[in-house]
Symmetry: C2
Subunit: 579 residues, 2 copies
């Protein structure tokens, strides 16, 4: 490709709504152009990267035995009603009507359609296992699309669905996809982590996210740097930090704490450690056919509530909310900020975090403003909690599950997800096969997604500097740019640059020849912004010694290379992890 | 690919709604599965063909210098309002609302979005010409989707858009696409014809359709078998068949024609040739601020009206309709069936087809039921027509434009279209560039579509027999099937078939190994239905002589080939046009 025949369109300033580096750089480099909120045109430069990502995914999915097909963007409502997601899916599911008034949706994923295909196509255990995937346009009508391709509304996703005879088979399919994902993200050149994850609304009981490590990531990853252990903070078990509850050492005492409504403020006022305070959080559930149930959840002052964990407790599965001020007043006789577990009647059910349950001599609200209680002890000053459970987020420094190290936390961008679905969809859509005894059985399913377009953003978040993008070789729009200095003036430059370009191309290098006769500064800045891994500069000065400059995108000093050695040098640099 | 690891799913009977061969065969071969009316899943087998088609298109588009990008399926209404198509496009344009109530459409084509891109990206004449294309999902909400992928609602289309500085440039871009399309359809292995076409509602003044010749085609192609001349019947000029009007030879005479309300019936009743009769068609236009205008159009009895041609006449550009019975009664004093041009007052404007204008002694309705006039002559019995114009369809046997031969007519399926658009969209969306003098000028545009999914259906219509599909090599889902007979029993069969399969694969042949241990009849019928160009049968009987059977899909007798010669024989057969 010659630059003069390609559409290169870099811009100096990113628009104001581009908040993060990848969004800014994708626009500045000319990879995407916004069409509407969360809807982008992929310009020729951006599409090159997209296609390389798709091809790597396709190769590894095929190698893992998955079969590519293509399911439509527009899908009939009936199937979504059968699965129940027509009702359950929120407004992110874009519902549309055709000219005859029939209901359709724009697919956010394709569990329903693939299960419909399976129930029609698969009759016998002999046809199992099978794993179908497609790489297709998805639509999710995000309330607030942002971060460019990271949280767009229209995007490209690879979604795969496995069908097996039994749980053992499903676990093998799951593992095959888990392994394929490792290969895919490794080949893409990303720094990633496979993380145990919550299964969310999609259901099922086993799930891993593939997270690209990046500071702007929306997910918190808890990991043990010494082992394989990694889990999304939503799921990561937070251990009890106090092995055994110590005996009471202090008397119960009510202290005047004006203006101190948070644990932090109480800690400062009383000059105690935050780890001696207990935080009260009041939740409400609404059981069918009875009044709302009020719950008091207790956390150590330096810990935060994990709502995902709460949602799995008995009584909370159908949903919960924070209690209203009126409900709090009625049950605690006090405004928020001074609440605690002492002296409650039995209408309030108390749940203590594992650590809180083993605390002694702690500080909590007095259920009277502006007072707190000091020297509070379980058993003596209040009954034991109704339930002791892990309801908090892990914090950095917590012990690892094996007790031998401490947990770290980092941020990640979810780019892949493997799910064991079980029979959730096959039961809803009655997708059965005949087993070896001739009896119908529900197919065991798994689903496996990769956000193709999101990978572009994630890769840039992980690989950029103040000058622009730094592409991993595998997904760079071009691997090498050959820049001719003084193109219009020097025959030697034109001839040598063109010859190098042709040689590299014949060696299978994805190379672009910059024949635009631009000023060197402009040309170099553009290729640095675009992030091409290697730049070769051909100029009269170097040619006088039979040399050209070869510069890796991460390097600051170009290397002078003799002309006969250039192709080999470029190949060696491209093969190294760091260019 | 091994058949046991692929999803082969043929069925015996096509569903009732599959009316044409390609629709029936695509379902029977397991290429597509219906999800909703006009919306299909592409199964793994079907997708293989789709991808091969896409790749050929992509290679030739790139070779022609076009740049691939990707525009979204969901597009904001604003751009369509700017172009005016939001109002003008009928109910095929699926209009949707997002969660915030904002209007969007699902793209049927992308003129608006690409013109928006061009006006933002292209500032200077130095950036022109440029040709952008994408291969993307399209949606047209057809009232009555049918014929499978031939007239679906969701489908894949390649659409390209060229931008030039002036008309000369646009014509060069047009010609480059015209040539690329020739290469594409030739590589696809299709029997096609490039046909001059009407520009329809999209506007512009130059247009060619690429039509795949097939009896079920919806388009009629007029062509000269001796030359390049070919045109859609909508556009094809229908010459005057009578060089010079002869003098009147008969007296005007009113004849009683009870029960004869059509030219055919009159011809039979009066025992005259149909070419002596004149057909009367009454149309109405509705000019702004005045009463409807009634028009009488006259055609020879054996000719049909061409509404596209009528729509281009002065006074008809804004649309027209057939006159109502009341309007006919009021203006002609007679019910339909007995109408004619004699004795009308000047409220009715008369247009004669070129041929009618040169007829003498003709027969037409008497404007009185049940009578016709015989021996009618222009000038003597009625005034010369207000307008003489080509308003009929060509019929087979009409003289060619050069007068040296006769026109033929065949049916075609439109699979590609090249359009010169001019400045229709660039003016509507104010897409200008600065010319060499620094002045803004509208970009000259062209647009170029290929129906990717429709090609599959068209290829099958052109290539099938009673046993199934007969694929052109380039788009066959597999080029060769190696079938092992008695797979489960014979080590020799398994080993030889596997070895042949591996050898062919290593030679770049797209081969599938049928290791399913099916009965020969079932297996052979399946590959014939699927339409794989070459089948190799490996059985113990042949192996006893060191031979296997090689059979082209169009052949009835297999060839026995010595094992060492098989790969070369297959390569030779694949290279020939006919397998």
């Amino acid at each position: 490709m010659r630059a003069s025949a390609f559409h290169i369109s870099t811009i100096k300033e990113a628009p104001n709504d581009a908040e993060i580096a990848s969004h800014q750089l994708m626009i500045r480099a000319g990879m995407i152009r916004k069409l509407a909120g969360g809807i982008y045109n992929y310009m020729p430069l951006g599409l090159r990267t997209i296609r390389k990502i798709e091809n790597i995914i396709r190769e590894e999915m095929n190698a893992a035995g998955a079969l590519e097909l293509l399911m439509p963007v527009v899908q009939p409502a009936e199937l979504w009603q059968e699965s129940g997601r027509w009702e359950k899916y929120g407004p992110e599911l874009l519902r549309i009507k055709d000219r005859h008034g029939r209901d359709f949706i724009l697919q956010p994923t394709s569990e329903e359609v693939i299960t419909d295909i399976a129930r029609n196509e698969i009759k016998s255990w002999r046809q199992l296992p099978v794993n179908f995937y497609h790489i297709q346009t998805k639509f999710r009508d995000e309330r607030r699309p942002r971060f460019g391709v990271m949280r767009g509304r229209e995007f490209t996703m690879k979604d795969a669905y496995s069908f097996d005879r039994d749980v053992d088979g499903a676990m093998q399919s799951y593992q095959a996809m888990f392994d394929a994902y490792h290969k895919i993200f490794t080949r893409l050149g990303l720094n990633f982590r496979a993380v145990a994850a919550d299964t969310g609304s999609i259901g099922g009981s086993s799930s891993h996210e593939f997270q690209v490590i990046a500071d702007i990531g929306e997910d918190l990853i808890v990991y043990d740097p010494r082992t394989d252990y990694a889990a999304n903070i939503e799921l990561a078990a937070a251990p009890c930090l106090i092995e055994k509850r110590a005996a009471a050492g202090q008397d119960l005492c009510k202290v005047h704490t004006p203006g101190a409504a948070t644990c932090e403020e109480v800690k400062n006022l009383l000059s105690i450690d935050l780890s001696r305070t207990v935080k009260s959080i009041v939740l409400a559930t609404e059981p069918a056919d009875s009044d709302p149930q009020i719950w008091l959840l207790l956390l150590r002052g330096d810990h935060d509530l994990n709502e995902i964990k709460v949602g799995k407790l008995a009584g909370f599965e159908e949903g919960f909310r924070f209690a209203t001020e009126d409900e709090i007043k009625e049950h605690f006789g006090s405004p928020p900020g001074y609440l605690g577990p002492v002296g409650l009647d039995d209408r309030v059910k108390v749940i203590a975090d594992l650590t809180v349950a083993n605390m002694n001599d702690f500080v909590c609200g007095a259920n009277e403003a502006p007072y707190h209680l000091q020297g509070v002890n379980w058993g003596r000053d209040l009954p034991e909690p109704l339930l002791v459970a892990d309801i908090r987020n892990v914090v950095a420094g917590d012990p690892t599950p094996d007790g031998k190290g401490v947990l770290n936390i980092q941020r990640g961008i979810e780019v892949g997800h493997v799910f064991y679905l079980g029979t959730k969809y096959s039961e809803a859509l009655k997708a059965t096969y005949l087993d070896e005894t001739g009896k119908p059985a529900f197919m065991e399913m798994g689903c496996y997604g990769i956000g193709v377009t999101r990978i572009v953003g994630a890769a840039i978040e992980q690989n950029h500097d103040e000058r622009g993008i730094i592409w991993p070789r595998a997904i760079a729009p071009f691997e090498v740019a050959v820049c001719g200095l003084g193109w219009g003036k020097s025959d030697a430059v034109r001839e040598t640059a063109t010859k190098l370009y042709e040689e590299l191309k014949s060696q299978g290098v994805d190379v672009i020849l910059d024949d635009r006769d631009l000023r060197p500064g402009v040309m170099f800045a553009e290729w640095e912004l675009i992030g091409v891994p290697i730049r070769i500069t051909v100029g009269d000065r170097g040619l006088a010694n039979g040399q050209v400059e070869v510069l890796g995108r991460r390097e600051s000093n170009a290397e002078l290379v003799d002309l006969p050695d250039v192709v080999a040098r470029v190949a060696a640099k491209l093969s190294s992890r760091v260019t």
